[in-house]
Subunit: 511 residues, 2 copies
Amino acid sequence: MMSSRRKQSRSIAWVPTAPVGRPGARGVDADKPATQGTARANLASVQSGRHPLSNATENTRLFDYEQRTKAAFDAIVPTLKQISGLQHEADFERRAQALAQEQLGFALPATILADAWVTQLDMRRLFAWCVFQTYQRFCDDFFTNSFLSRLETEFQTFLIECGFHTLDISPCADGRLAHVISYVLRLPHKAVRRKSYAGAMFDIEDSIEKWTETELQRFREGIPTTADMPTRYMKTVVYHFSSSDPEHEGCAAHGSDAGRAAQGGLERLKAFQTAVENSFCCGASIDLMLIGLDTDNDTIRIHMPDRHGEIDLKRYLDAGDLYDATLSMQAAQAQEYVSEQVRQAGGEMSNGMQRLMGYLLVNNFSQIEYVRQYYDGRYRDIGHAERFIGAGIGFEEVQLRNLTYFAYMQTVEEAAADLDVGIKIFSKLNVSHGLPIPLVVRFDYHGQVPGARERAVGHCQRVDAALNDRYADLASNGLLHTLQVVRDCHAGGRIEVIGTSVMDEVTEEAH
Amino acid sequence: MMSSRRKQSRSIAWVPTAPVGRPGARGVDADKPATQGTARANLASVQSGRHPLSNATENTRLFDYEQRTKAAFDAIVPTLKQISGLQHEADFERRAQALAQEQLGFALPATILADAWVTQLDMRRLFAWCVFQTYQRFCDDFFTNSFLSRLETEFQTFLIECGFHTLDISPCADGRLAHVISYVLRLPHKAVRRKSYAGAMFDIEDSIEKWTETELQRFREGIPTTADMPTRYMKTVVYHFSSSDPEHEGCAAHGSDAGRAAQGGLERLKAFQTAVENSFCCGASIDLMLIGLDTDNDTIRIHMPDRHGEIDLKRYLDAGDLYDATLSMQAAQAQEYVSEQVRQAGGEMSNGMQRLMGYLLVNNFSQIEYVRQYYDGRYRDIGHAERFIGAGIGFEEVQLRNLTYFAYMQTVEEAAADLDVGIKIFSKLNVSHGLPIPLVVRFDYHGQVPGARERAVGHCQRVDAALNDRYADLASNGLLHTLQVVRDCHAGGRIEVIGTSVMDEVTEEAH
């Protein structure tokens, strides 16, 4: 893929030479009420110290990765603006290509540029083409270099010690939670199952299917634990809210109401547990965890049980409180403090459950510090700022905040509500500025299954047609562009581009 | 459900007093070439004897069930014709209701009749209403009385003795194969998994899911066999062809080409086998069987292995040939003859596989005789004559030939091709005569799973909306009517009507 680019791009920096936007946040808006989140931000700005349990080296690495990835996407608009200004000048094509190479790291499709003199440059197509090209480069980068690789085996061992053989997490599909595994919880993304749904309202039948598959593997192959080990399947929901603008920047699927979001997640969790208990005999069950995420500053809260051992919506441990309480302690003391808090709040919870909760809370300390250090304790983009929509099955590479609005889906028909939310978000973000919505249709497949690739390609084409049908007005005005990709997740290789609405030539030029 | 009807209907015969159509077939069209099928029919007509291995008692029972069920559907048109003739007469409503009660066994919705004087009777709505009412009575009948009950446990034991713990059959979705389990193969429908697809091109991922579920149940519960027993999962495809009009009345999905139909089925079987072998370790595999069905006379052929043990498209045993060869033998001798034929053709096949094949061939003898006895050896309706389309998941009650074009589906988006075939068939059968297409949307659910009923209802509504969208022209002209039903297959009860396009009152009046 991208042979011409690849020859050059390894010498050209993946980061554009003139990075755009983001860093050096201006702090909190003065006219917003000072909530817990902003208070913490102000506190952070006067503190130069680091938490003894945070991982500063990793933070540097993660920030570097986040910055250069987002900078690549955010360089597109300013570059195209410059190019737009040149379009009726002599030598336009050569100068445009030079600019693109310099600032984006790749050449633009010659045919789009060549047609500019007739009327004007088709900016919508060009913008979508650049987003898709950048997405593809981002994917290749991710699957070639392992920026986010963590010690999966080590974590898996720890998880089993805690009494769990699977950690299955359903966050909200909101782009502000796309980094929840690799950043917020600092978990190895390959060792965790992530399935995102609007409002974190995960599909119970899909989860039962995964549970069944997992159990069979334990019985047949003893992976990750043999069936006679009393380990359990852990299902976790991550709902979200905004501490500084709770009524507007919370979860759209739950009317920006943190209580409803938590309640919805808990009900779904319990329904899944009952489904497993009722569908399978011999004491089959699962364990549950409910986590809330403040998307302004990435602080998590983990809900604790009530006196009956049921998850309590009102009782939780806040990682931000724990961070502050332990900031001046020694590492061992801080660790013990957190463990003690979990123990006191945890009631009859198993030791393993307490260990896992303590682990996640401490992991989150690094992310709290990350936001304090690099974003002054509160993201500037507390609202939506996704760069594209991802729809389908896959997107393992999306581990960055506000990069992607992601809808896990098999069909447009079933996922229509989730997709509508995404289209609505991008209507504000892009369409209102005359820019199209870039939507990546993606289906991962297991290459060892005969015909699986052909079926994945078929899914892409079917979903693409259904999207163009559902959003016909946008599509016909050039305000919705799609890229179709598949990936053999068994082989673990790069993505493969199947087609795009942007132009026939994209595949020819890019591959 | 249907409280007013139920009070009366147990005394009123389910069969209309004046049965219409079907029986007393006029034999084969003289201008059609005499193929094997028709030759057999002619032979049959001169033979009064019965095969020693056929089940005459069961044939009588099955024919009775088929006749009265189809008669109930086929009484609708003549009854409505009579009613139509009365619509502008005095006392119309009373006379119409009397006719309906007498000939159909139920009352018509008063509101439709009452509006007739304004312009004329809305026959399309009335026809669809009657079909749905008859379908509902047919379902209630099926789930209340067990006309087709066979000894499941006995068959399950036999299957295990043959070395198989599951028999999973995918016939074509064509209505002429809807009776393949209960009639053609004489198997207990509850002990066999049936999933129909156009062209028998079953979904591999869906089958893998079922395989996984089955294996886990063996490991966890030892049902139907413990995991250490070397029994296997048997996947079977039933493709079809027409011996008397091979170029027109074969499988539409394969261009009415028997060779392509067999080839398509075989390829899908092998792909499923490879998928299981590649997706699971420790020698996981499945066994395969390929069956062809002559839909003119219900004779099956079972394909035999080639010298490498692979299913051979050209080598098969024809149940019709075996029937004829053994007709004058004693039962034990006939049985031995069939076994010997299978043994000779079977090569290296396991004894269990040979036993199962012999069993199916002999079971088919009863059906061959059924068609010879009641239909003069060849159905009059060798083409399509389905009464309604069934779409969704369920339809266990549909075990009759040419009653239902059935599309096993989750979404219209994925099943569009299968549905289009069904709509095309019914455009000829119904729309060309001005009658609407009656389509039942059905989702069975497992009542023990929390929220499963609500999700099934949601699926019905979503699919109903998608159908009305895809076939908007038909729907807006009253030429497509839908009935939405769900059923708790865990509880094993009746169907539950959710809604219908025919009229709001149907649920009120009918429940």
